[in-house]
Amino acid sequence: MKTVWNNYRYLILRRFTQISLLVLYFGANAWGWTVLQGNLSSSSILGIVPMSDPYAALQMLAAGATLAADLLIGVTIVSLFYFLIGGRAFCSWVCPINMVTDLAAWLREKLEINRVQKVKQPATRQLRYWVLLMGLAISFFMGVAAFEFISPISMLHRGIVFGIGFGWAAVLIIFLFDLFVLKNGWCGHVCPLGGFYSLLGRFSLIRVHHDEAACTLCMKCKVVCPEQQVLHMIGKESIPVLSGECTNCARCIEVCDDEALEFSIRKLVDNNRSGDKHETSK
């Protein structure tokens, strides 16, 4: 039992967080709870504190909308949290699609699809930044927030809270895409919101730290990591994971039997330097 907890503690905590948030949102619509109202696009805590999706607000700005004060406050709160503290934690601790793509990634490993498709991945992880830019460009030209109309994240989350319609089809597409077409396809390559939080969260304080002296090079961390490129220092150097693409999901920490990985608060000055050097050389 102790090892189960040890090997899955963060996974359990993440699922608990993700599902609790869904329950709170669902309760707000179904039973009038006021703890957390709205959905991931924009919500309100206890009817007082606003929180808004900064990428959605950017698209609205590109589309030519006037941004209201409540929206700007909500965007600031969310942005500051991920910028200063959480990093890209939205993706692994909040986003409901994460549960779908994690399942796909797990099945992919179990069904040994990874061994069949062992060739170089046919898409670059930079794709998401282009999708991000394209989302803003289309918002500008079409005069509406473009990604918000196709986002499977909103479809699933809004669907769970307000009624899903055919939204399950979008979720199924993501699942099949990740399972059969591209490993970590949606969250790791395509999703512009993930790209946005990668850029926003790259200076945040919470980081995974690697202790090279304790590492036995078993590479279990690289197998579970949905963004393997961020673990370039494994077995080489004792530095934190500084890439913004790390989702702070902590799977690497819990699968490590050697205690060579642990959460830490980033040491602002010296770590920054050594980390940046490696980030550019991936």
């Binding site: 609205m60 409540d70 394209m134 289309i138 509406v144 918000e148 479809m155 809004r158 055919f166």
Partner: protein
């Protein structure tokens, strides 16, 4: 075989960086064009629907689509479950709030709970405020329209269900009495909607007794025409204000080279 070999050799040579760069760029442009067009086409398609009734205080549809963040706070604030968010597969702008009066109309709460919760101003408090107080009677969600063919009151059967259901009874809908020439001794009692008062709440649509409602709410833009600058109510001083900014246009087609009189009297091109 000798013809193929040189090609083979060529393909085994490593690509130059320049060539790689150009090919990668071309690939990128191709994917971006494909993705961009499909994405734009889809967005264009789902935002084309004009037949949705929005919550009170909603901005004009085009601005509303820009500004609504699709959070559903208005839906949660509505005590009557009137508002719903468009779900995938409904062919409506995804995630935006709307209501269907025949299912649940807007009951016109005096405190309009759905509007102040909007974080983005897509539901504009200003537009439903009169003298600093929220005023649901100034809301403009749509306009009720009567289909004279299926309205049984227009047949001569007595029915005033919509008139009675209207929250602005006697203002938004009035009853017009007219002699029924068919029987010679009865009166028509026809419901007349007054567009300047009607808020589009849809209580009339819900109350209508016909199988498919003979009175129904449409977005005002869909339900109304526009006289334009060419006509004026000469007997109405206020109407002249409407044309204050009107300006004439000089056409530059071939026919307008000559004066209108000459052009009309000239029968040459008729034969």
């Amino acid at each position: 075989m000798s013809e193929i070999r040189p090609n083979d050799k060529k393909s085994r040579e490593p690509l130059t960086d320049r060539r790689k760069f150009i090919l990668n760029m071309a690939r990128g442009v191709g994917i971006a064009a494909l993705g961009g067009f499909v994405w734009s086409a889809y967005v264009d398609e789902v935002t084309a629907s004009q037949l949705m009734l929005r919550p009170p205080g909603a901005l004009p549809e085009e601005d509303f689509l820009k500004t609504c963040i699709k959070c559903g706070l208005c839906v949660e604030a509505c005590p009557f479950d009137t508002l719903v968010l468009a779900a995938p597969g409904e062919n409506k702008p995804l995630g935006t709030p709307y209501f269907v009066p025949r299912d649940v109309p807007c009951y016109m709460c005096p405190d309009i709970p759905c509007v102040p919760v909007c974080p983005t101003g897509a539901l504009d408090e200003e537009s439903v405020t009169t003298d600093g107080v929220l005023d649901i009677n100034s809301a403009d969600m749509g306009l009720a329209v009567v289909d004279h063919e299926s309205c049984i009151a227009y047949w001569g059967i007595q029915c005033d269900a919509c008139y009675r259901a209207c929250p602005l009874l006697g203002e938004a809908i009035t009853i017009a009495y007219e002699k029924n020439e068919r029987t010679g001794k009865h009166a028509f009692m026809k419901p007349i909607v007054h567009g300047d008062v009607c808020t589009g709440c849809g209580l009339c649509e819900l109350a209508c007794v016909t199988e498919k409602p003979a009175i129904f709410v449409l977005p005002r833009e869909t339900a109304t025409g526009r006289a334009g600058d060419h006509y004026i109510k000469g007997w109405d001083k206020a109407d002249e204000k409407r044309l204050e900014n009107a300006h004439s246009k000089t056409t530059k087609t071939k026919i307008s080279n000559r004066s209108a009189m000459d052009s009309l009297n000239d029968a040459e091109d008729l034969y």
